[in-house]
Amino acid sequence: MLAYTLRRIAQLVPVLLVLSMAVFAFVEALPGSIVDTLIGTEGGDIEEARAILTKEYGLDRPVHERYVLWLGRALQGDFGKSLVTRRPISTELLSRIPATVYLASVGIVLSMLIAVPLGTFAAVRRNSAVDYTAQVTSLAGISIPEFWFAILCVLLFSLYLGWLPSSGYVSPFEDFWGSLQFLILPAAAIGFRQAAFTTRLTRSSMLDELSKEYVDTARALGHSERKVIFKYTLRNAMIPTITISGLQLANLLGGTVVLESIFAWPGIGRAIFEAILQRDYPLIQAGVLVLGFIVVVMNLLVDLTYRLLNPRVKFA
């Protein structure tokens, strides 16, 4: 296990290098020099500012040297300053991470609370009304665009019924109950959509387990159906479900751009979206790099957990 873990960590290095090169190439692909973009916001003596900035960003050097310079700074957490707020990008991004983690993890927990009982029940009572309903709902769930579903929720619960605020954010550390009000709609929008995937998966892996021989053995030994399902099959069937939920969580940490902007949720996805609207290129660059890093590390953690849960997988 240790050797495998170390090897997987070593494999991360080239992946992160590819990611960083892609992100670096993005800024290189922008028209004109970054200095022109910066000058636009600086004012003052243009020629002098140009010279200083050219030197600071190393624009007088060849591309590969600039990349190394940039990467070296990024590794130390120095992404430069935001063009809009003039604050260090690292502080900007760090302040946005908690809101995204909060929303994404509550959303995933919610999706598992829906999906695991529903998927299990659908598999156990195969071809029943519940199974049919679960299948139809989850197919609908993966086909409905999340932003439309979110809008419909806002229309129903905020505008017509007036039960919940349509958008906004309160930190759970300041006012826990107040924060929940704002959390419910976006978390439900995430939870419903992810549950659609997880229900299908739980159902099919549960069916897979139920068709195995150990289940027949357990039944032949006279164990109750309840024990067969909860003690034996469900545990095995949960392995892929947990894995997929972990991957979904990783993806959500970087992928809630749309929901965060609908619900004015001050997370990292919305920070990047706003940076795009304001042409804050260094912030976009750093944001994508940081999120990519989080996703890669999360994926590794999920993979290692999978192997801990499922010792049958060989450490090839």
Partner: protein
């Protein structure tokens, strides 16, 4: 006398000749009815197929089906409910929603299909060749794929769109950038799938036989192994089409797609938000259109998977 024998008798040899037109159309009809017969095995696949035929029919027939110019504004007829003149009503600028849906769908489906075909065209040979040859090429290839997969959610598209905006690209060029971003993002999935199947297929006897008769390795990989791993690829591509449509709609919902007044489901939906409380129908139609399209691809893909992999169908 069978059709095949009739072909042979023309000059007594086995040389292939183009069959006469009626025969060709009869053969096409047979092929189609065979395909339909296969599809009937799965109810989901047949429902999906019918939905897709309607969808593609509407996309092709758009110029004839549309009743109005999708861009022309008419301030006298703003925010009208569905009527005989405007089948689905009009939007905030008095544009015919039904015609906008048709033109928007035609564009969206075209973008999605081109993007997925492109990602197959790049990803599949990539996966087949790295999988078949293995070694260093495989290691490097798969690290590139992992690097691309590290971009979560929409971020890769956001980068591409930002560059496109910075260059002040317009019209088709924006769509091209979007298509290439979608193709690039879809490529790893196809490459991995193709590689996985090739690794299993490589061990089989026919590959060894081809090698024994001295076929070139690239030939074996692309013309012998590739046809044998097509079915999982078709299924993935179909499901991916629905996914791509969701992404494109989400991007234009965020205002990062083609700028107005181009008809666009995502952008129209976003614009309808301001009138949601008073005129909820305006926001309903583009949303329903997206759902229908994605559902059609998902149903068809699901059913196709059951047909092509009968082991799964029993579940």
């Amino acid at each position: 006398m069978s059709e095949l024998e009739a072909d042979k008798l023309v000059d007594g040899t086995l040389a292939w000749r183009a069959p006469p037109a009626p025969l060709r159309s009869r053969r096409l009809a047979t092929a189609l009815s065979n395909a339909w017969h296969e599809l009937r095995k799965s109810r989901t696949a047949s429902i999906g197929a019918v939905m897709l035929v309607l969808l593609f029919g509407a996309c092709i027939g758009t110029p004839w089906l549309a009743t109005h110019d999708p861009i022309k504004q008419n301030y006298r007829e703003r925010l009208q409910p569905p009527s005989e003149k405007h089948l689905l009503g009009t939007d905030r600028l008095g544009r015919d929603i039904y015609s906008r849906l048709l033109y928007g769908g035609r564009r969206l489906v075209t973008i999605a299909v081109v993007a997925v075909v492109l990602s197959l065209a790049v990803g599949v040979p990539f996966g087949v060749l790295t999988g078949y040859f293995g070694g260093l090429a495989d290691t490097i290839g798969m690290r590139i794929v992992d690097g691309l997969l590290a971009f979560p959610g929409l971020l890769l598209y956001l980068l591409f769109v930002t560059v496109a905006q910075a260059w002040k690209l317009e019209g088709v060029m924006i769509d091209l950038v979007l298509v290439s971003a979608l193709a690039l993002a879809g490529m790893p999935e196809k490459a991995r799938l193709a590689r996985g199947s090739v690794l299993a297929e490589k061990q089989k006897e026919y590959v060894e036989a081809s090698r024994a008769v001295g076929d070139a390795p690239v030939n074996i990989a692309l013309s012998q192994v590739l046809p044998n791993i097509v079915s999982p690829l078709i299924v993935t591509a179909t499901v991916r089409l629905g996914f791509v449509i969701l992404i494109v709609a989400a991007l234009s919902f965020l205002g990062l797609g083609t700028p107005p007044p181009t008809p666009d489901w995502g952008a129209d939906l976003s614009a309808a938000r301001d009138y949601m409380e008073t005129h909820p129908l305006i926001a309903a139609f583009p949303g329903l259109a997206i759902c229908y399209t994605v559902l059609a691809f998902n149903l068809f893909g699901d059913g196709l998977r059951d047909i092509l992999d009968p082991r799964l169908a029993e579940r």
